[in-house]
């Protein structure tokens, strides 16, 4: 299953969000990936998520597979929806 999200944060997908995403993805028994254009990375890998260079307004596709796919998908997408303050 997958869902489309938009990076609404003015600072783009910054370090704090990437950190929260990876922590969140690791919690579930599921494989979560994030795709921007033709690039797909594991949501657990902070560095890979950051190198997507997802600036504000970019559309991303979040995929989840596995036992807890729907929970993982919900939680990870929620992080995009509630703007996380950058400050880092």
């Amino acid at each position: 299953m997958y869902r489309l999200v938009t990076v609404s944060n003015p600072e783009g997908l910054h370090m704090r969000v990437a950190l929260l995403i990876s922590e969140c993805a690791k919690k579930y028994n599921a494989t979560v990936t994030i795709t921007k254009g033709s690039e797909t990375v594991s949501a657990c890998d902070v560095l890979q998520v950051l190198t997507l260079g997802a600036v504000s307004g970019v559309k991303l596709r979040v995929d989840a597979q596995g036992e807890q796919a729907s929970e993982a998908l919900n939680d990870v997408c929620a992080l995009f929806e509630n703007n996380v303050q950058s400050s880092v």
Binding site: M15, S42, G53, V55
Partner: protein, 583 residues
């Protein structure tokens, strides 16, 4: 032969072999290992990652506690980056398939990521390249630390050529082999300059990009007087410099006998010459040059090397060692004078857009009271072993001073309760380096035991010039009449109430300014040991009456240029053999 030019920051001449340190501050050996060593390199890389993650976890905790969650988060993020499975896979592949050495593999992969970030068009995100390079440096230090490639292992006559040098690098070098420093970036007052002066070896900084054209082991001549570097010099030039070097040694031998004579002017006015120092061994150098004490013991370095793991015991040991070396001569210890930006090793791009006016120095200490207390405890404990005074940098208001006093009193009580001996009458003083402090100097003088004028910052804050910015650096000038008036006001006020006042900063070690400073009423100057002979010699040829005349003339002059030429002319009259526009 390649000839390079830069900013001379420490005088002298040196000839030696090139030791090239790569851009980010360490040498990468582009080395490929034997198949039998692959296993070991893999362990080396994994081990380095483990240690780095342990460090980051501790730092995250400390910083979160001291500065708040948002600062600590950076370390958490760095920790998480090292868990990145792709990153690890790529490094592993470089070692396994291409048989790269661990440092080479790590560095190659990290640089690729840094490049990726730099190419992101969004400014905020592309700044993350700095995080990657910072992490790379951290891991490299660990990888190199356990192996023999570190600078400690050097044992030849060497000229260090680097992009920039950091405090931890310069201390880990084998000092007996380093003959000079040359760096691509930097300016007067940069760390390289301070260390070179302390080691009394020549240094040229701000040369611009040149490391690519030099190979390790090539012969290099560094002329720290003129700021010229020759790589692979011709035979004629080499001969000429060997001759100069010889003359230099002879001259130095003649000046040796100045070391044992107390500094005084021609008419017998005693001038106290104090030392500026940072590393413990420099105390001995100051003593050898006949210093009357230590006027400025910088302790930032002790904070930097231990990365926020400020350890009271190790500070105490260093302070004790210095005060014991000085055999009863007073030691002025300055508390941490770092900016938040430096403390967090530059991983906060954009956080502090104006660091000179931001959370730095005493402000940073007051915002991290636990750390500050630790340093104060260490200093106070050392005060049981000899005369120590505490100098607080960048104090700009009296309320700040009162907060400092409160913390000091707390530490007093704490030590008393635990029955630890220390000097209860330890003199407490401030650096006068912000114009607001000068405006309130009478009030400050009632509250403090002594003052020390820090000219580098005083000039910066008075004329609003960052001297490391080459576009405006020319405006940074100690002869600015405004600066001279501030010094005069400060010294006069201190002398009126009989409170000790000294001056540290580069103005103290410039022979051309000595008569101005004495004329303004200063009797105590603090400088690096390498400058002491020159200043002593100048003092011994000065007449106080004439100094006062010169100072008053300077106070009536309205521009820096005229004051400078007045002083240069006067110096050339007094010591023609040395200062009349020589070679």
């Amino acid at each position: 032969m390649i000839t390079l030019k830069g900013i001379p920051v420490s005088p002298g001449i040196a000839i030696g072999e090139a030791l090239v340190i790569d851009n980010e501050g360490f040498r990468i050996s582009h080395s490929v290992v034997d198949p039998s060593e692959v296993e070991e390199e893999i362990n080396r890389y994994k081990n380095a990652f483990d240690i780095a993650q342990q460090e980051l976890a501790t730092n995250a905790k400390t910083v979160t506690k001291e500065l708040g969650e948002s600062y600590g988060l950076i370390f958490q993020a760095h920790h998480a980056i090292l868990d990145d499975s792709m990153l690890r896979k790529e490094i592993l592949e470089k070692i396994e398939k291409e048989r790269y050495s661990a440092p080479f593999a790590i560095s190659t992969v990290f640089r690729q990521y840094a490049e990726k970030f730099k190419n992101i068009p969004d400014n905020q995100l592309s700044l993350r390249a700095n995080d990657i390079l910072d992490l790379e440096t951290r891991i490299m230090k660990i990888v190199m630390g356990v192996h023999s490639e570190s600078l400690t292992a050097i044992d030849k006559d060497l000229i260090v050529l680097a992009h920039n040098l950091t405090p931890s690098e310069t201390t880990n070098m084998n000092r007996n082999c380093i003959r000079a420093f040359v760096t691509e970036i930097g300016s007067k007052g940069s760390h390289t300059a301070i260390i070179a002066e302390a080691l009394e070896i020549p240094a040229v900084v701000g040369v611009g990009s040149f490391l690519d054209s030099v190979q390790a082991g090539q012969r290099v001549i560094v002329d720290g007087n003129q700021g010229i570097i020759y790589i692979n010099p011709t035979v004629e030039i080499l001969k000429q410099y060997q001759k100069t070097l010889h003359r230099y040694y002879e001259l130095n031998a003649q000046l040796n006998n100045l070391d044992n004579i107390p500094c005084q002017t021609k008419d017998g006015t005693r001038i106290r010459i104090l030392g500026n120092m940072e590393l413990e061994f420099e105390a001995q150098n100051c003593l050898n040059r006949g210093a009357d004490g230590i006027g400025l013991y910088r302790t930032e370095f002790l904070w930097l090397t231990n990365e926020l793991q400020l350890d009271e015991e190790s500070h105490f040991q260093k302070y004790k060692q210095v005060v014991e070396t000085m055999c009863g001569k007073p030691v002025t210890i300055r508390t941490c004078d770092l900016g938040a930006d430096k403390l967090l090793t530059n991983i906060l791009p954009g956080e502090d857009r104006n660091p000179a006016l931001g959370l730095r120095s005493i402000r940073l200490c007051l915002s991290m009271p636990e750390m500050f207390r630790k340093q104060l405890r260490a200093i106070l404990r050392a005060s049981a072993y000899g005369p120590i005074q505490i100098l607080f940098p960048m104090v700009s208001t009296l309320s700040e001073w009162r907060r400092i006093k409160m913390i000091v009193n707390d530490v007093f009580e704490d030590l008393d309760e635990r029955g630890i001996p220390f000097n209860h009458n330890i003199p407490l003083g401030i650096m006068v380096e912000v114009p607001s402090t000068v405006m309130m100097i009478e009030e400050f003088l009632q509250a403090v035991d002594f003052i020390s004028i820090g000219t580098n910052d005083l000039i910066q804050y008075t004329v609003a010039v960052d001297r490391t910015n080459k576009d405006v650096a020319k405006l940074f000038n100690g002869c600015e009449p405004s600066v001279i008036k501030l010094i005069w006001k400060t010294v006069t006020a201190a002398n009126r109430v009989n409170k000790p006042v000294s001056l540290c900063g580069q103005m103290a070690s410039d022979p051309a300014l000595t008569m101005l400073l004495l004329g303004l009423g200063l009797r105590s100057l603090s400088m690096p040991p390498g400058a002491m002979r020159d200043i002593k010699r100048v003092c011994s040829s000065l007449d106080m009456l004439r100094c006062r005349e010169i100072a008053f003339r300077a106070l009536r002059t309205d521009n820096a240029g005229d004051i400078q030429s007045l002083l240069q002319r006067e110096l050339a009259n007094i010591l023609p053999e040395k200062y009349r526009q020589e070679e």
